[in-house]
Symmetry: C2
Subunit: 633 residues, 2 copies
């Protein structure tokens, strides 16, 4: 049950479910309502005027608003809950709120969860014997912060207050008073945005006052020694008694090393980093917390936690401020994790007011797929296997120096290689090179629509000799020679099959979601490719092999490390973070392993699609690649 809210003076209309606060609805609609407490009902700054609709007077309203204001319909928007359609007037913000541009044209109003407030407190006297804690807590209360605190703070408090003539800065994270610092330190407030990938980990040290990125550093996840993908990591925890502890130690070492780097690079003290937002897939975040990931890996794929959680950095040994808080974002399911939720936040997929349909794909060992718009969204994960990572490919390798990352085959039969590191000898093929190579081979006709590599005798005469001469047999397997510069880099028939299985799985996942939503490729406004693989892949090749639906190539957009961008956004704005935490409510998670049609669709999309006659993709059903009855290698 959703109600319509019309916001004046901007005439913005949005729809929100029963029980949503006006504050959150405005936030959702991209309208900034003033607030320092972030919707906790304690600062009294978020007042709006309800011109039409039902908004009973609440406790907090009485505290902050006069009887005549109440009569005129003024309410605190964070306490006013929707039970009917309504019309709401939002007063203009005093001054311009500070904002930062993040994500993909995402204008984020700075509203970090960390607040620093400077106080010159009255010193105790026989007439004012309030305890130290009450003194600071009531000063904060007057500023609209209602806080909890803990033993570590209590122990420091008497010395800090008396050592600084009661002139101190309170550090509040959420509703926790985590520190009281001597003097005025409000200018130094930092946070850490972290994307824990299975392969690499990215940390960005952010100035919470300005939104500026002070330092950014990425490094290999040190768990990589125990396997390249989440399944091998989980296996390690199952096989070794100390495996879980070992993997937790590794990722925490990784993070602490990156913390050392970003603090050294920026000259910022680690004690001034008060909060971290960490995203990653469910397995990575379970390992980070030392939680057994085994149930994630076996049916029915149940994580210990999918909800966002907050804990003290010290609880896992992260070397930030000792009382710093760490928050995660929610997972949509066992294999569509907080990294994807962060990506959805960064790309605005579920909130874009244009109402247009977007498809977000993060290609990796698992392909995470999100299809939707503000009107409704589906997500799923498709097991792609390691082909895109270069594993199980004869000359496959990671995207590092010497890897072929791009391939072009001209109609004349010239094979042009793009190699990481420039004009050097290739040593293998990266995932993006694999996609390019197979797409180009299909386009010139040396691979047919079923994925079969032509035999030389079939090709000879129909294709340039330069190409036919590249059809070789290596160890009894038919292959296409990419480079003979000593290194003999080939793409084998098996490699093509491995890619077909990988892209078929993702393509089938996309198709299941499109069928469930009742849409086709022609309904898609954009296809967003996330993750580092998404940044390197050639959109045209991805479309050619059927990894993504057939949409005009300019509608296929690489969005880079969307997860990291989402983590930054959530760090800089707790309103955005709350929006991220509610994303699972708006998304239906589709479990493929429970779907009987998945295998049928998978089989039907293993081949390569026939391009539509015109490139506008208007013909119905063209998102579904040409069916291949049978696969033979």
């Amino acid at each position: 049950m959703k109600y319509e809210i019309r916001f004046l003076p901007s005439e913005t209309i949005t729809h929100a479910p029963e029980g949503t606060t006006i504050f959150n609805a405005a936030n959702w609609a991209g309208l900034a309502i003033d607030s320092t407490c972030g919707g906790r009902g304690t600062c009294g700054k978020c007042k709006v005027r309800v011109l039409k609709g039902n908004a009973p007077v609440r406790e907090a309203d009485r505290k902050f608003l006069s009887p005549s204001e109440l009569d005129e319909g003024w309410r605190l928007s964070c306490r006013a809950v929707l039970h009917s359609d309504c019309v709401v007037d939002i007063p203009r913000l005093m001054g311009n709120p500070k904002a930062a541009l993040l994500g993909y044209g995402h204008h984020v109003i700075l509203n970090p969860n960390v607040a620093k407030v400077y106080f010159e407190l009255a010193e105790p006297s026989l007439q004012d014997q309030r305890s130290d804690l009450e003194r600071i807590v009531s000063a904060l209360d007057e500023e609209g912060y209602q806080v909890h605190s803990g033993i570590a703070l209590w122990r420091e408090l008497p010395k800090t207050l008396r050592g600084s003539d009661f002139k101190v800065t309170a550090v509040v994270v959420g509703d926790n008073l985590i520190a009281v610092e001597p003097g005025n330190t409000t200018q130094s407030s930092y946070g850490l945005a972290v994307d824990v990938g299975t392969t690499s980990v990215v940390t960005a040290l952010i100035n919470l006052n300005t939104g500026a990125v002070e330092a950014v550093k990425s490094g290999l996840n040190r768990q990589a020694a125990f396997g390249a993908d989440v399944i091998s990591r989980v296996s390690h925890t199952m096989m070794e008694p100390e495996g879980l502890a070992e993997l937790q130690t590794r990722i925490i070492e990784t993070l602490n090393d990156l913390l050392d780097s970003v603090t050294a690079d920026s000259g910022i003290a680690r004690e001034q980093i008060y909060e971290a937002v960490i995203v990653g897939n469910a397995t990575m975040l379970h390992l980070l917390l030392g939680i057994d990931p085994e149930p994630i890996s076996v049916a029915p794929f149940t994580p210990t936690m999918t909800q966002p959680v907050t804990f003290r950095a010290a609880e896992i040994g992260l070397r930030m401020h000792p009382e710093a808080r760490v928050s995660t974002l929610p997972h949509l399911g066992a294999y569509v994790g907080a990294d994807i939720v962060a990506g959805i936040l960064a790309t605005d997929l579920t909130r874009n007011k244009d109402g247009k349909l977007r498809l977000l794909i993060d290609v990796g060992t698992n392909g995470e797929i999100v299809l939707g718009s503000v009107n409704g969204t589906l997500s799923t994960a498709a097991p792609a296997g390691p082909a895109f990572e270069g594993a199980q490919i004869k000359n496959g390798m990671r995207a590092s120096t010497g890897a072929i990352e791009g391939i072009e085959i001209t109609p004349e039969g010239d094979v042009r290689l793009q190699i990481i590191g420039g004009d050097i000898k290739p040593v293998g093929i990266a995932g993006s090179g694999l996609v390019d190579g197979v797409a180009e081979m299909f386009k010139v006709g040396i691979v047919d629509a079923s994925g079969r590599l032509l035999r030389p005798e079939e090709a000879r005469g129909n294709l340039p000799d330069a190409l036919v001469d590249r059809l070789v047999t290596v160890d009894g397997v038919r292959a296409f020679l990419l480079s003979d510069a000593e290194s003999n880099i080939v793409l084998t028939q098996q490699d093509i099959r491995a890619l077909q299985f990988a892209k078929g799985s993702i393509g089938a996942g996309v198709e299941v979601l499109m069928q469930q939503m009742g849409v086709t490729a022609s309904d898609l406004h954009q296809v967003l490719l996330a993750g580092s693989f998404g940044s390197y892949i050639n959109p045209s090749s991805a479309r050619t092999i059927g990894l993504v639906p057939w949409v005009p190539v300019e509608q296929i957009v690489a969005v880079g490390n969307a997860a990291g961008e989402g983590a930054k956004i959530a760090l800089l704005s707790f309103r955005e973070r709350e929006a991220a935490n509610r994303i699972p409510e708006f998304i239906e998670y589709v479990e493929l392993s429970g779907r009987s049609e998945f295998n049928d669709i998978f089989t039907s999309v293993l081949g390569f699609p026939t391009p539509p006659r015109s490139d506008n993709g208007g013909a119905e059903g063209l998102s579904l690649p040409v069916a291949i009855a049978q696969i033979t290698s």
Copy 2:
């Protein structure tokens, strides 16, 4: 601004300030409203019918009540806040709530802050992939518990659920889910009530399902090695760099030893102790938490904290359930601590509906004094010095074997001694013996109203020779011989002066409060003597020397370890705990060191009072002992 609430059908009328919930007002008035969530708005069980008065419909009301119920005035009493006089109908409780008799005729309805709830959860399936945490959290939500949890729980959860076929017991303390145990363990739920005294520490292990005390154990506070009173403990923290840590370690060792004893005695596992309520004076509780107590000891006497706090037992190394919570009660001021608040709770001083005036005195190195009724209460602390503890008294000693604890002097001059340990040779005088001795000496006339011990030549002829013969000189000081059985136990003139200073300080504190309230002894319904000293002291002697105002002796009541009783009550009922936490709002703390009249009154009450002509104490001003112009020793 207070409103009148009339509760039906009991026709109980109470008055509560603006903003009080009906739930709390009923609780305050001693009326039980059904609830499992304890007034958090989540269980929906506390519904009442508001027959008259203003009670707007709130979110929680809509969740639990039908539109027709809302129309009829039904509301959740924990969400309904007073803004006018009102009339409220409380439905009869289904069944009889379990209760325990605690404190002084205090019928406490068992409503502990610890709840154990057994669940047979649905096992995960491809159709129900909810995370482990969501599974248990949503089951708890349906039962009315909205909970937080932490890393330790998350780590155990997957194994516990799968090891017990998803049949588990959730352990909730407040709004924290602290454990999930395999199987049904609801029958085993225990808590610890602790009174940390400067001298001795008492722990009671309580069955939270029945209210039964399973084991009780007291022991010497191991900090005693660093001084007998709070000031010497504070000094130790100031003089020694490691002093604070040392004292904290000592009290935690003391508590852990007592925990070992009560678990051994009762056969109850420490992992089944989920909560502790700890009371004590401000210095003791600061030391327990490792917080510097120095500011408590110097003007303007400002503790780091006076508010009640909650923390994890493991944070200070208490060996209960690793995630058990510890809560304290609030302090009224630097020297009227949580032990006194607990005593007020146990004696119902501020809530007794009889509206009668009571005086509560806890006699020790500091005399804590509380004077009041449901209509208003004052409190203060008077520095008594160590005389009552037996220190600075020539033959003074603690109340242990061989100590004279009672003295009677017959008109014939017989001196009868009551000795701890029975008919044995006395080795010294305990505080209660000192009070008795001086009171009896004054009554027979061997000490005059100014506290002066008569010289033998003044006494001879006026008093029995048996008494005069006991007037001796020891080391040049005049004294009264209590026992000459080899041991030569005497009460010296200096001892009498020391007692006068001690009781004069407390007497002056009482007088300041009575003057401020505009009452006299004749207005007092009862004088309650708390603490172990209060249990041993002879009420008549206390009155004779002017330690307590002159009221009929049967109105002077020893209430024993009221602090410990209060801790038990707070442990067994979170409603009572909330009432205790609000006690400071109803009590004005009077700081004596800021009062110019204190020294005048102190001087005026150093002597011994003249009993009023009749024992009904009706004559005004008789609470003020006869003034003594000058003290000479």
